[in-house]
C-alpha cells in the first residue's frame, strides 16, 4: 500500500480517529479511483472513508491540512551575503555549502531525510523534542559545520572570517527551523497519546482535586462510561422484546373459535428499569463529587433508570423537576450553589434531612426502589436519627451509601458513618470516576 497514505493513517490514529483495517483498505481503493490529482476530491474521498462522525471529521480535516501541506519548513540561508567563490576556495562540508549557497530545496530534503533517520515518528512527549533536534542535527552533519566555522574563524583573513560569521548566523536559523519542524510534527503526532494519558490520570484522580479546566474532559469521559453501561444494560433489557409468535397463547386464544387458529398472539415487550432515589449532601465538603455523580446518573436517566433526586444541607428538598426542566448541565449549576432552591446552606444536618425525607419521599419507596445516599455523614454533632434510615432500609430494595472520605476517617470527629452503616446494603468509599462507574454498574445489575 501507498506509504504516504499509511503514514497519514497512523497520524490519524494517533490523533484519536480509530481507523480500522477495513477502512484503511477502503481508503486505499478510494485513492486508486480518484488519485492524487485533485486536492479537494482527495480530501472528501479519504474523509468519507476514514472519518465516521462529525467530531472525527473535524480531526481529520485538521490532520489532512497539516499532513498534505505544501508549506515546506522555511530555512534561511546566507546566500545573499556570500559569494560563490567561497565554496570553491575552501574545502567545506556539504551542509555548510548548502547553507552558503542558499540551496533551500537541498536543505529541506536533507531535513526530511534526517527526520526519517532519527525516527521522528516515535516522538511522543514534549520532553523528547530537544533529543530529536540533536539527533536530526547530527544526521545532517552539524559536526562538520561546527568544524568549518571554527577553522575559518581561526584563519584571520577577512573573507574566511566573514564566511565564518555568516555560517554561524545560518546555523542559528537552521536550529530554529529544525525546532519549528519538530514542534509541528509533535503537534500532529502527540495529540492522541497525550489525551490518552490525561484521561487515564483523570479517571483515577480524586474528584475533588480536579481542576476547572479539566471539567469538560471529565464530562466527555463520563459520557463514554455512560455509553458503555447503556449498551451493556439496554441489550439485556431488550431480550424479552421480540415480536415473535407466542404459540401457547395463540392456542389458548383460539379456543373460542372451536380451535381454528386464525388469531395469532405475539410475545410482548417487557421493560424493566431500576427505580432510583438519590439523596445527596450538597454541603461544601462533597459538592464537587455530587456534581459528577448526578451527571453520571442523569446521563443514564434517559435510557436505563428512573430517578427521583433530593438534595440536602441543613434541610432537604426535591430537585427532580430541575432535571426535567433544564438540560443536565444547567440543572447541576443550580443545584451546586443552591440558589433558588428551598434549602438552607447552613450546617449540614443529617437528622433533619432524613426527617424531611420521611415526610416527603417515603411514600414513593417500593420494594423495587434503590436508595442511594451520597454524603460524608458528618452531621455537626446533631442527632443523626439512624432509626429513620432503618425504616427507609426496610421499605426499599437496597440502600447504598457512597462516602467520599477514605474509610480510615469514617467515625472520626462528627462522622456518624458507623451509626448508619448497619442499615446500608452496601457502603463504599467513592471519590474517583472509576469508583463511580463501579458502583453505578452494580446498580444496574440485579
Amino acid at each position: 500500500m501507498d506509504q504516504v497514505l499509511q503514514n497519514f493513517i497512523s497520524v490519524l490514529r494517533e490523533s484519536g480517529v480509530p481507523v480500522s483495517i477495513s477502512e484503511t483498505l477502503d481508503a486505499a481503493h478510494a485513492l486508486e479511483i480518484v488519485g492524487y490529482g485533485d486536492r479537494k476530491v482527495l480530501k472528501d474521498s479519504l474523509g468519507s472513508s476514514l472519518a465516521k462522525s462529525a467530531r472525527e471529521r473535524e480531526v481529520f480535516d485538521r490532520c489532512f491540512d497539516q499532513y498534505f501541506t505544501l508549506e515546506m519548513p522555511s530555512v534561511e540561508t546566507a546566500s545573499d551575503r556570500c559569494g560563490e567563490s567561497a565554496q570553491t576556495e575552501f574545502p567545506l562540508s556539504p551542509l555548510s555549502r548548502m547553507l552558503l549557497v542558499g540551496d533551500t530545496p537541498g536543505l529541506i530534503a536533507s531535513m526530511f531525510q534526517a527526520a526519517r533517520r532519527a525516527n521522528l515518528e516515535s516522538l511522543r512527549y514534549p520532553t523528547q523534542k530537544a533529543f530529536f533536534a540533536m539527533r536530526m542535527l547530527d544526521t545532517m552533519g552539524s559536526g562538520e559545520l561546527d568544524r568549518d566555522i571554527a577553522q575559518l574563524g581561526e584563519s584571520g583573513s577577512p573573507l574566511p572570517l566573514k564566511i565564518s560569521a555568516d555560517l554561524a548566523d545560518a546555523r542559528r536559523s537552521l536550529f530554529e527551523s529544525i525546532i519549528k519542524f519538530i514542534e509541528d510534527r509533535f503537534e500532529m503526532l502527540s495529540n492522541g497519546t497525550y489525551n490518552h494519558l490525561i484521561e487515564d490520570y483523570l479517571r483515577n484522580s480524586r474528584l475533588t482535586h480536579i481542576e476547572e479546566r479539566d471539567l469538560h474532559r471529565m464530562h466527555a469521559i463520563i459520557q463514554k462510561m455512560v455509553k458503555r453501561l447503556n449498551d451493556l444494560h439496554s441489550r439485556r433489557k431488550r431480550t424479552a422484546r421480540r415480536g415473535m409468535l407466542d404459540f401457547k397463547r395463540t392456542l389458548r386464544k383460539n379456543i373460542t373459535y372451536e380451535g381454528y387458529l386464525f388469531v395469532p398472539a405475539w410475545k410482548t415487550k417487557k421493560i424493566e428499569r431500576p427505580d432510583i432515589i438519590v439523596i445527596c449532601d450538597i454541603s461544601r465538603s462533597v459538592s464537587r463529587l455530587v456534581r459528577f455523580f448526578l451527571l453520571f446518573l442523569y446521563s443514564l436517566n434517559r435510557e436505563v433508570a428512573r430517578i427521583r433526586s433530593f438534595v440536602f444541607c441543613s434541610n432537604l428538598t426535591e430537585v427532580t423537576e430541575y432535571f426535567e426542566k433544564y438540560p443536565v448541565e444547567a440543572a447541576l449549576a443550580v443545584i451546586q450553589n443552591g440558589a433558588g432552591l428551598d434549602i438552607l446552606m447552613g450546617r449540614t444536618d443529617y437528622g433533619r434531612a432524613l426527617q424531611d425525607f420521611r415526610e416527603n419521599g417515603m411514600d414513593s419507596l417500593t420494594r423495587n426502589t434503590t436508595v442511594i445516599i451520597l454524603g460524608d455523614a458528618r452531621s455537626n454533632f446533631s442527632d443523626p436519627r439512624p432509626d429513620i434510615l432503618r425504616s427507609i432500609s426496610q421499605r426499599c430494595k437496597r440502600l447504598l451509601w457512597m462516602n467520599p472520605e477514605v474509610p480510615t476517617f469514617w467515625g472520626t470527629g462528627d462522622s456518624e458513618m458507623y451509626r448508619y452503616s448497619p442499615y446500608c446494603t452496601l457502603l463504599q468509599e467513592c471519590n474517583t470516576l472509576n469508583h463511580l462507574e463501579r458502583i453505578i454498574g452494580s446498580l444496574l445489575r440485579h
Binding site: S22, K40, S48, A51, K52, S53, A54, R235, G243, L245
Partner: protein
C-alpha cells in the same frame, strides 16, 4: 459492480449535473462520496442536522438512476420481522384448516401411522415457501432484479440490536432465511442510511459505510437551491431571504431553520407578491421558518437590524 449503470458514474461532475437536473443541488464533496459509493460498492451513512436534505439525497439517487426507491423508516422496537421478512402466519393457519379435508384424501385410511407420516413429510415445505413469505423493505430491495435504492431512514432511532442485524446486509448484501436459504441479489442495491445523531452509532456499522456529513449550506449554495426549487423568485428577494436565514442560523435558537423551511418561506413570499423583505412582512411570516414560540421571540427582538442587513446585502 453495477456496470450497466457505469455511464452515469464516470465523472464526479456528471453526478452533480444529474442531481441538479433532478432538482437537488449537491456540492462537490457530496458528489465525490456518491461517486465513491458506486465504485466501492459501499453503503453511505448520511449525517447532519434535520432538514438538510439527507432523505432527499437518496430519493434523488433513485430518480437519477431511474430505479425504485425502497424505504425503511426506523423506530424504536423495529425488528427483523418488520424490516426483513415475515411469515404470513394468518394465511398459514388458515390454509392448514382449509386443507384439513385434503389431508384425509392424501392419507390412505388403510395405512399405518408411520406411513402416513412419511407421506406428510413430502408436503411439509409447502407452508414455508415463498408464497407464504411477506417481504419487508430489506428483502424487497434485494429481490429487485434491476437493482434499487434502499433508504434506511433515521437508523439512530432503531435499537442496537437492529443495527447489528443490519451488518450482514450491509457488508455482504445477502440475507439468510433459515427455512429457504440465502438470498442474494442480482444487482446490489444502493444503500443510504441517514442519522440525526440522536445517539452514537456502533463502530461496526460505521466501518461498513462511507460517511457523509451534510452541514447547513453556505449562502451561495442555499441561493442556488432556492433558485432551483422556487423558479419564480426574483434575484433580489432570494438574496435577502437567504441572508436572513443565514443570520438566524448564527443565533442561539432551539431549532435553526432548515433548507426545507427556507424553500417554504420562499414560496410563501412569492405567493404574497413580495419584492423586498420588510420587518412587518417578516414578522407575519416568521412562523414558517421558526417552529418554537421562544425562537420567534428571540428573532423578533432583532428583526429590524436583521432585515436591514438582508436588504442591504442585495444592493439597490
Amino acid at each position: 459492480m453495477n456496470s450497466a449503470l457505469d455511464p452515469k458514474f464516470t465523472e464526479i461532475d456528471q453526478i452533480s449535473e444529474g442531481y441538479r437536473a433532478a432538482g437537488y443541488i449537491c456540492n462537490r464533496s457530496i458528489a465525490t462520496t456518491l461517486y465513491l459509493a458506486h465504485h466501492l460498492g459501499k453503503p453511505v451513512l448520511v449525517e447532519g442536522p434535520a432538514g438538510v436534505g439527507k432523505t432527499d439525497l437518496a430519493k434523488t439517487m433513485a430518480t437519477y438512476l431511474e430505479l425504485p426507491l425502497i424505504r425503511l423508516q426506523c423506530y424504536e422496537g423495529l425488528d427483523e420481522s418488520k424490516a426483513l421478512y415475515e411469515w404470513k402466519y394468518g394465511k398459514q393457519l388458515l390454509y392448514t384448516q382449509l386443507l384439513k379435508d385434503k389431508l384425509d384424501r392424501i392419507i390412505d385410511p388403510e395405512e399405518n401411522l408411520s406411513e402416513s407420516m412419511e407421506k406428510l413429510h413430502r408436503y411439509e415445505d409447502v407452508f414455508f415457501s415463498k408464497k407464504f413469505l411477506e417481504p419487508r423493505p430489506l428483502l424487497k430491495a434485494l429481490e429487485q432484479a434491476e437493482g434499487a435504492v434502499l433508504l434506511i431512514d433515521e437508523v439512530d432511532k432503531a435499537d442496537d440490536e437492529f443495527e447489528a442485524f443490519l451488518l450482514e446486509i450491509l457488508s455482504d448484501f445477502q440475507v439468510s432465511i433459515p427455512e429457504i436459504g440465502t438470498i442474494q441479489p442480482g444487482t446490489r442495491p444502493y444503500v443510504f442510511l441517514t442519522s440525526n445523531s440522536t445517539r452514537e452509532l456502533s463502530e461496526a456499522l460505521k466501518r461498513r459505510c462511507l460517511h457523509l456529513f451534510i452541514p447547513f449550506p453556505d449562502a451561495s449554495l442555499e441561493r442556488d437551491i432556492v433558485r432551483t426549487r422556487v423558479p419564480g423568485i426574483s434575484g433580489r428577494l432570494e438574496i435577502q431571504l437567504v441572508t436572513f436565514i443565514q443570520q438566524i442560523r448564527q443565533m442561539d435558537v432551539k431549532k435553526p431553520p432548515s433548507i426545507g423551511e427556507t424553500i417554504d418561506w420562499a414560496r410563501v413570499l412569492l405567493l404574497l407578491h413580495a419584492n423586498d423583505l420588510n420587518p412587518d412582512l417578516v414578522r407575519e411570516t416568521l412562523h414558517v421558518i421558526l417552529k418554537f414560540e421562544e425562537d420567534i421571540r428571540i428573532v423578533s427582538q432583532n428583526i429590524f437590524t436583521m432585515t436591514d442587513i438582508s436588504v442591504r446585502s442585495a444592493g439597490n
